[in-house]
Amino acid sequence: MRRYRWFVVAALGLVAVLTGFLVANIGQDLVYYQTPSDVLADAGRVGAGRFRLGGQVVPGSIVDDGASVTFDVTDGQATVNVAHQGAPQQLFREGIGVVVEGTWDGVIFHSDSMIIKHDEQYRTEDGGVYTPDSRYPSP
């Protein structure tokens, strides 16, 4: 065991340093997305590069012109207007959770990447009756 003592000390030191770097740098990245409240509260985000914005699609706010989709994303307190370039995801609809990635100019969030955030709720159709047409209601 004696032979390995310094090796063990060095390895533990290396692990400690790497863990330190990880904890110091991961901070914000552990959070997968920012909420509309975060974005509106932090003026430093305007024009400051790409980040992810997440929230629920406000019912009645979706405007689809074929090439892009605009809609509002809310966290219940604040709302941000999003202009998304490209086709929305299959499950995109009113009231669903969405995470968009792009830049924020202070008025509109310009997104080019969309991920659907499904929540923890699983519900059957009313009365447990399932009809193929009801599976994918149009947004």
Binding site: Y32, L91, E120, R123
Partner: protein, 237 residues
């Protein structure tokens, strides 16, 4: 050589499969949601198996009984398989629902990390031929590695993530309709029985492997031992 537990595993798996296919699908996701009946029990088995590895490792350090070490190793092997299955089914589910196979979300990254840490545990077990040394080393690793299990599980609660928070293991009502909940619980039960059946087989096999390693081989004639090489002759002959 079928045993009651193995027959039970096959029976409950078949029942769970049928149940998972006949219950109505989720209203938003459609039939894709049925992946849940494999994904969730796989993740549950990963936690269960690594938890058993932790308990068996502690028991081994306390008693120095190699049977506990073999249980720890066998359970970790099963855990790695089901962690891999949870990752794979998660990707298959993520593509149609989220729109991506993979993303750098805390839950996803930490689950992958858990997968690799327990692969390292299995590699560590093979670094020596001596079961006693193997037992001590892997018990320490098995205890330290278990620290990440709660972090993986609570990652979706502690940090805002893409992955959903728990549907059932949460304060308050489960957020799932009764038929879907029934199918999910059936699947969890079936996977748990399967785990017990697999663990018993693997522990037996590990015992046989250790017996083979520690058996003192007596000198017995082998093929070719009758052939004698050229013998040196006496000096000056």
């Amino acid at each position: 050589m079928k045993r009651p537990i193995e027959i039970a595993a096959a029976g409950t798996m078949l029942t769970a499969l049928v149940t998972g296919l006949v219950v109505p699908p989720d209203a938003v996701q459609g039939d894709v949601q049925r992946i849940m009946y494999v994904h969730v029990p796989s993740a549950w088995l990963a936690y269960l198996a690594f938890g058993v590895t932790l308990i068996a490792s502690l028991a081994h350090l306390r008693t120095r009984d190699l049977r506990w070490d073999r249980r720890a190793g066998a359970s970790a092997e099963i855990g790695v398989v089901f962690t891999g299955l949870a990752l794979a089914t998660g990707m298959l589910w993520g593509k149609p629902v989220w729109g991506v196979w993979w993303t750098w979300d805390a839950r996803l990254v930490l689950t992958a990390a858990m997968f690799f840490v327990y692969l390292a545990y299995l590699a560590l077990r093979r670094t020596t031929d001596d079961p006693v040394i193997r037992g001590k080393r892997s018990a320490v690793f098995g205890i330290v590695a278990a620290l990440q299990i709660p972090v993986v599980h609570f990652s979706v609660v502690w940090w805002r993530s893409l992955h959903q928070p728990p549907t059932i293991l949460r304060p308050g009502e489960p957020q799932i309709d009764p038929p879907l909940l029934f199918a999910l619980l059936m699947a969890v039960a079936a996977f748990t029985v399967l785990y017990v059946a697999l663990l018993r087989r693997r522990v037996e096999l590990a015992g046989a492997e250790d017996a083979l390693l520690t058996t003192v081989r007596i000198e017995e004639p082998v093929a070719g031992s009758a052939v004698v090489g050229p013998q040196p002759r006496g000096e000056g002959a």
